[in-house]
């Protein structure tokens, strides 16, 4: 049985949270990226990704399930016809949250949540890297060496001293 979410609801009540998250999801699918508080972005992410998964299936039943949350028919249509096909090859992880620091006024931590638009070619290139981790760790090190010689020199010096100590 699914465990209910623990703790306070956004907006104070379960109904209000449901409305807030539905409105945020609608705005996200309408605009592709929205700026909101980090707490709301973190709550929105699982909801939005489940809606995209339903949209990827694409049949009438799933369209009705999505329409229960997103009340705007135009946005539902965009989600099924334009957004879902772009995620055809992507196995989850459709959204990205980037923190953008505290808000002026109440210092609430803000974040940008956006639909991932990068093509899967980069993703498939990253997948083999995850398998061979040593190779992956070497490649960024070489990149850093090219970029900042000072830091690598400092690191090398520290490694030398560490080796001497041993």
């Amino acid at each position: 049985m699914p465990q209910p979410t623990k703790g306070a609801r956004l907006g104070g009540s379960a109904a209000h949270q449901k409305l807030i998250l539905a409105n945020l999801a609608t705005a996200l699918f309408e605009h592709g990226r929205i700026t909101t508080t980090e707490a709301k972005a973190r709550r929105l992410r699982p909801l939005a990704e489940k809606l995209i998964t339903k949209a990827k299936r694409g049949d009438l039943h799933n369209r009705r399930l999505v329409a229960q949350t997103i009340r705007d028919k135009g946005v539902v249509h965009t989600l099924f016809t334009e957004i879902a096909p772009t995620f055809e090859a992507r196995p989850g992880g459709y959204t990205r949250i980037t923190k953008i620091g505290p808000r002026k006024g109440d210092a609430a931590p803000m974040a940008v949540i956006e639909l991932v638009t990068e093509p899967m070619a980069a993703k498939t290139a990253a997948a083999p890297k995850a398998d061979e981790k040593p190779a992956k760790s070497e490649a960024p090190a070489e990149d850093e060496a090219a970029k900042t010689e000072d830091t690598t020199a400092a690191e090398a010096a520290s490694e030398d001293t560490a080796g001497d100590a041993k």
């Binding site: 700026t35 980037t98 923190k99 953008i100 620091g101 940008v112």
Partner: protein
């Protein structure tokens, strides 16, 4: 009604307030613009995170 029995001395007040301090945030260097920024957060100056443009640059 409960009221204070004694005047709070200036020394007591100042000792208490001497513990009331702000801590400087831990900052890291932005890899794009070399400006200081909060870690794991998009740079406020150039608006990038992980060399990806997230927000519009402020300056």
């Amino acid at each position: 009604m409960a009221v204070p029995k004694r005047k709070k001395s200036r020394s007591n007040t100042r000792h208490r307030r001497s513990q009331w301090k702000a801590a400087a945030p831990n900052l890291v260097e932005c890899p794009t613009c070399r400006d200081k920024k909060l870690p794991h957060t998009a740079c406020a100056t150039c608006g990038t995170y992980d060399r990806r443009q997230v927000t519009s640059p402020s300056a």
